[in-house]
């Protein structure tokens, strides 16, 4: 497979101390983000699934991407889910998603709504590809994307996770 055909790259940055955070607070923050148009994407609405265990948490829905406090596998993190296709290469798309996620983390940590308790561990990431046709969670995809991931996250440990039915997903531990 050609890594440059891969779209819809997602990046999740984990919260350092999940117990210190109440993600209900994110609802108000995300509404304010829409009002203040703080992101480059067009922001549309906020939806929340706090009632669903290990679910998608609180989402800020955008046209080109969603931002969310994701609770999947009971691991709280900021997830950047790129929906719209991007020009460029795998490297540039990964960089876009990674930078968007980190920018959102920076902004969230400064939000008064979290009372200064929200901190992200920027060294622990997950990268997904949210498209089973372009990047199934197979050995072939792994072999094609591993060098690209290792190039981008130079010096990091990159491990493939999940079962074949899952999205292609890697855990990244930055040095």
């Amino acid at each position: 497979m050609d890594p440059n055909s891969v779209q819809h790259i997602n990046v999740k940055v984990f919260v350092a101390d999940p117990d210190a955070v109440n993600i209900a607070d994110a609802v108000k923050v995300f509404h304010q983000w829409i009002k203040d148009t703080v992101c480059p994407e067009m922001l549309i609405d906020v939806t929340e699934y706090r009632h669903v265990p290990a679910g998608p948490g609180v989402l800020l829905i955008g046209l080109e991407a969603n931002y969310s406090f994701d609770e999947c596998e009971n691991r709280l993190g900021l997830l950047y889910n790129r929906k719209a296709a991007l020009d460029g290469t795998f490297q540039s798309r990964l960089a876009q998603a990674h930078e968007a996620a980190l920018t959102a983390c920076d902004r969230l940590e400064k939000e008064a709504g979290f009372g200064g308790k929200l901190k992200f561990d920027r060294n622990k990431l997950e990268v997904f590809v949210n498209d089973r046709l372009l990047a199934p969670n197979t050995e072939e995809t792994w072999q094609a994307l591993k060098p690209e991931l290792e190039k981008y996250f130079a010096g990091s440990t990159v491990e493939r996770h999940g079962e074949p039915r899952d999205l292609f997903r890697v855990a990244v531990s930055l040095p």
Partner: protein, 766 residues
């Protein structure tokens, strides 16, 4: 929207049944045509609705941030319906006939909600599944992937026969007369796309129930509700249905009327077809507020309605599908995966009990497990908070359904899923697996298991946050362990975001629907409170509205009402009997002090809704798409003609000259046929006869004449017909190109003719 959309069709190949594949291709072409502005937006709206692609809140590009309504700057491309922007996220409703699902279907839903939606599949109050925040251009791929596992979204919305619902324990129910599953399935596929069900003024809902006294089928709130009954005739037991018609909720709730105490099983499909024809012919078309079947039944009276149906039934042409499924229906029974075995209960060995069975298990077992009529088997309800399940949970549930049962899963109108045919001995292990998937919430079908429509979360019509309130009530009631309360544990709470009743608030013990009230310069979210609706007896009675309470005071209202019931009810008195006994005035008195609204300065929290910190506004309410505008069959037929012309162009581009010419000619023929059908209700099928009738009725009369070129477009059609009937007339790319152009103009002329025929004459003033 997604680059992979163009590749899925080839990837799925033959796994998509041919008929569904063709339908989806048609829809994909209609999307392309709409993008080119070649289909009117109101027609495209009904087209997509009939494929389950629904609008969503803010899709008009306006959104209130609490103080100001702001414009969402979507790209400037054609709309996907009146005032509905192309790129605005929408909802995809997925029909699940009688709620029946298998493991592969759960896995597919998991993939789709993850890739195209927000990671959640939502079970509705009519056993459908909904995915939200979907882009319209992703819908054909979603439909193809669903079709590859045997699911169609056709007629999930729009003025059509909606999902056919049925009791989720049909076939395993201890009190059923017989299993209604095969009948629900047969009618669902018989009516799907049926020509007699394409010209309704509004939707048409069908439900089946195995017995009269339980709730499962909710027959009496449906347009067509059938309850299984039997009759002894000549020493033989004969199956049939007690048939109820014209029920519905919404702003004018009406209980269904008894059509017949016994419709023999072989007549249930033809009677449904006959009712559909009467509804299509006589139902209201212009005013959608009075277009449901219930209004027609009320207007005509049940006796006259029945007379008309019988008359219609008598002229129906026999259809083998009416009865071909019956033989199978009598022997139909799902099969278990494991042998029947009883759950071992040994109170004499508490040590053993503590290892295999915890008190958590016991509670779950008491509440979520139903002992089937087949000894040694149980049906387990997987309670889903607000009907929501994640992609990960769907996959785990698929695995569980393969381990313990033969993938016998159903969705329920209480927004849950059930696993049928669990060997009772497996219950502890199943519980452990469900718990690991966070799917063992022990409150199925109790007061904690609050149902809700999407409300202001995603619905264009929502007034108040029904899901926000439902979530709040669920959390508070669970914290009180209300599900185990002997008196109130079995009560039902149902919440709708507005009077349209998608949350089925009328048939709950405690029902709520969203309204608003003005206080000074502010609007305050409220819920109207309804008490004493009956869930049992197939939605036997509708609740009594007693007054509107600010949203933020609904939890206290629930506490007060349930506490009073707990303390003042007579022995064994039901909630309905209690409400009736104390009377409406007393009920209203109970909530009076909650109706006061503090000033904004004193308590601003009253001025925002549950789960939504924005200052409350009703400015986001849009125009509903519960059904689109009333579109006559000719509208669809002409769109189909246009699509044929479009496909002819594609064929020509691909070098298939003969095929392209044939398609262009066919498009003209079908346009002429559509006009004939519109004018005379019927039209011939033979090309010669179509041309002859068209010439007499539209050309000779000059009805088809264009004000400028007069009869040219009709003459093009006549010439195309002559050439089509001549043998060995080779086509060139050039002549075919010209024919396609003529076909396009001919279809335009059909549209114009139809518009002239239906135009309201201008008023002449002196």
């Amino acid at each position: 929207m997604r680059p992979s959309n163009s590749q899925w069709k080839a990837r799925l190949g033959d796994s998509v049944p041919e008929n569904l594949s063709a339908e989806i291709d048609v829809f994909e072409n209609e999307i392309a045509l709409r993008k080119q502005g070649k289909i009117e937006d109101r027609i495209f709206a009904e087209t997509r609705l009939r494929r389950g692609a629904y609008g969503q809140r803010y899709d008009n590009g306006q959104r209130s941030d609490g103080t100001t309504t702001r414009t969402l700057n979507y790209p400037d491309v054609p709309t996907k319906g009146p005032n509905t922007l192309w790129d605005a996220p929408g909802m995809q409703r997925i029909k699940i006939p009688f709620g029946g699902l298998n493991a592969a279907q759960l896995e597919m839903l998991a993939d789709l909600c993850e890739e195209y939606s927000d990671g959640i599949a939502h079970i509705t109050t009519r056993q459908d599944v909904q995915l939200h925040f979907i882009h319209i251009e992703d819908t054909p791929t979603i439909m193809r992937r669903l079709a590859s596992v045997g699911i169609t979204t056709r007629e999930a919305c729009g003025n059509s026969v909606r999902n056919v619902t049925a009791c989720p324990i049909a076939g395993v129910c201890r009190t059923q007369t017989f299993d209604v599953t095969p009948y629900a399935k047969a009618i669902a596929y018989f009516m799907l796309g049926h020509p007699d069900a394409q010209a309704f003024g509004r939707k048409f809902k069908i439900a089946f129930s195995g017995c009269a006294h339980e709730a499962c089928g909710l027959v009496r709130l449906h347009d067509f509700g059938a309850i299984a009954v039997t009759r002894e005739e000549n020493g033989k037991t004969r199956r049939g249905f007690e048939l109820w018609v014209g029920g519905g909720l919404g702003p004018v709730p009406q209980q269904a009327r008894l059509y017949d105490e016994f419709v023999p099983e072989e007549e249930i499909l033809p009677i449904c077809q006959a009712i559909a024809r009467v509804f299509a012919r006589l139902g209201e078309k212009k005013n959608r507020n009075t277009a449901r079947l219930k209004f027609l039944v009320s207007k005509l009276g049940i006796e006259e309605f029945k007379r008309l149906v019988i008359e219609e039934r008598a002229i129906l042409t026999d259809d083998p599908r009416w009865t071909s499924y019956l033989k199978e229906a009598h022997v139909h029974e799902e099969q278990p995966l494991k042998p029947a075995a009883l759950l071992q209960i040994d109170p004499a060995r508490p040590a053993a009990r503590s290892t295999s069975r915890s008190s958590d298990f016991d509670k779950w077992h008491r509440i979520n497990v139903y002992q089937q009529r087949q000894q040694g088997y149980a049906t387990v309800t997987v309670a889903l908070p607000l009907g929501d399940i994640t992609a990960t949970q769907l996959r785990k549930l698929a695995d569980i359904s393969r381990t313990y049962v033969k993938e016998t899963i159903r969705s329920t109108v209480e927004q849950n899923l059930v696993l049928r045919w669990v060997s009772e001995a497996d219950l502890p292990a199943l519980y452990a697996d469900l718990k690991a998937a966070e799917l063992a919430l022990p409150f199925a079908e109790t007061i904690v298991d609050v149902s809700s429509c999407p409300g202001t979360d995603t619905c264009k019509l929502g007034i108040s946050a029904s899901r926000g309130l439902a979530g709040e009530l669920r959390e508070r009631l669970a914290a009180q362990n209300a599900e185990t309360d002997e008196v109130i544990g079995g009560l039902r709470i149902k919440v709708s975001g507005c009077f349209n009743s998608c949350g089925q608030h009328h048939v709950a013990d405690l029902g709520f629907y969203g309204v608003s009230r003005k206080k000074g310069n502010y609007v305050v979210p409220h819920f109207q409170v309804l008490l004493g609706g009956e869930w049992q007896n197939n939605a036997g009675t509708y609740g009594l509205a007693i007054g509107a309470v600010p949203s933020k005071r609904i939890p206290e209202t629930v506490d007060r009402i349930t506490t009073r019931f707990r303390t003042e009810r007579l022995t064994s008195e039901t909630f309905q009997a209690f409400i009736k006994r104390i009377g409406k005035a007393e009920c209203k008195k109970m909530i009076d002090d909650f109706t006061a609204i503090p000033s904004h300065d004193d308590d601003p929290s009253f001025y925002s809704d549950w789960g939504d910190p924005r200052e409350f506004s009703i400015g986001d309410i849009g125009v509903g798409e519960c059904a689109g505008e009333v579109i006559f069959p000719i509208d669809f037929e002409l769109v189909a003609c246009e699509r044929e012309v479009f496909e002819a162009q594609l064929q020509l581009e691909a070098g298939n000259v003969e095929k392209a010419a044939r398609m262009a000619y066919d498009a003209m023929l079908h346009g002429a046929q559509a006009l004939l059908k519109f004018r005379f209700m019927v039209a011939p099928d033979s090309p010669d006869k179509i041309v002859e009738d068209f010439r007499t009725s539209f050309y000779d009369t000059e009805i088809f004449f264009d004000p400028f070129v007069k009869g040219k477009f009709a003459q093009d059609f006549f010439r195309a017909h002559e050439q089509a009937t001549l043998a060995n007339q080779p086509r060139t790319a050039e002549t075919t190109h010209q024919l396609i152009e003529e076909a396009q103009l001919f279809i335009e002329a059909c549209y114009s003719t139809h518009a002239r025929m239906t135009a309201t004459p201008a008023k002449v003033t002196a």
